[in-house]
Symmetry: C2
């Protein structure tokens, strides 16, 4: 097994959701493992002076259409834009960072459940109680999950993830870095596949 590939995502990112559903299988196909890095796009945007796509004139309207069409294209027909968007993603991100420490598979399962809750069931996962309830359905202890959200060490860990992501050049979600090569967007999954298959092209 070679080195991990780095997968950066924000829970408020529709394209992040589409990539999250595929990244583990894509990595495994090429004998790699994806390391999941939940990050805060709000902090990254502040640092880089960018704005959420949906707030950019013209691109905003297009992007909402493209989110849904891209979701259908990627086999996610139950995608729908949440009524509250974008959201601050501290609560779900902290749960995942906490779970990752002890159980990678569970962390990924809960991450996908959180994404699905937000982008299919219109549940506001920025609310700690909602994020905890989703995790609990996957078998996570709800009291421990709630404590993790408020744990100063986990808060620090999320700040650290986001700072390291910025230092690594991450400016959007999803963002994948493979042996130093950066790929931005769910629409680069095909290039990632070729990159992993060929060792770079």
């Amino acid at each position: 097994m070679s080195a991990a590939i780095d997968f950066y995502f924000d829970f408020s990112s529709p394209y992040g959701y589409l990539a999250a559903r595929e990244i583990d299988a894509l990595a495994a196909k090429h004998g790699r493992i994806a390391e999941w890095h939940p990050v805060l796009l709000g902090v990254i945007f502040k640092e880089t002076g960018m704005a959420p796509l949906t707030m950019v004139p013209l691109k905003g309207d297009y992007s909402k259409r493209d989110f849904a069409r891209s979701a259908r294209f990627h086999g996610v027909p139950d995608f729908r834009m949440p009524s509250k968007f974008p959201i601050a993603s501290q609560a779900p991100a902290r749960i995942i960072l906490w779970l990752k420490e002890t159980d990678r598979a569970l962390a990924v399962r809960v991450a996908l459940a959180l994404y699905h809750a937000y982008f299919a069931d219109d549940i506001d996962i920025s609310a700690p109680e909602n994020a905890v309830a989703i995790a609990a359905k996957e078998g996570v202890d709800p009291f421990a999950a709630r404590a993790a959200i408020d744990d100063p060490a986990i808060k620090d860990a999320l700040r650290g993830e986001t700072e390291r992501a910025i230092a690594a050049g991450v400016f959007g979600s999803p963002f994948v870095i493979i042996d130093g090569e950066p790929f931005w967007g769910a629409d680069r999954l095909d290039q990632i596949d070729k990159w992993l298959a060929t060792g770079g092209f």
Copy 2:
């Protein structure tokens, strides 16, 4: 043969070049014809308050890397970033609009030759004499081409193309509109293929 699909592009757009190389075959595969619309991204950006990708912090550096990698991915290994970028694309755009009036096939051939001159041979096609020389190599009368660049009617036609593009929601290059459905970017060619195959998904 059903209705045309609309293909909008700027000669200064690397992703526009990649899409231009494929759009006719893609349309033909589904019994359609692409109508080529050269437009001025500079005017569109001014109208929409956007900036060229390469000038956006962080995204700029990434985009240069992604241009070249996407070119290799699309089978264009001789792509290289021109030393002057971006350029004003009035001269090549006007030649194409003028040629389109009488010979669509020639217009497409010259458009691809202009793109190749700029993105492979580093020829500054914003200079009328360079644009004319490229067209001449494809069999176009150089004196007529030079006159077309300064022809008030052709200038008006380009202004009209760009204004109609903005009115149709075009904010980038390449941009394709199929029966009212907008697709932005060379990375949407796969969705365009599926859209044309299925009649919409």
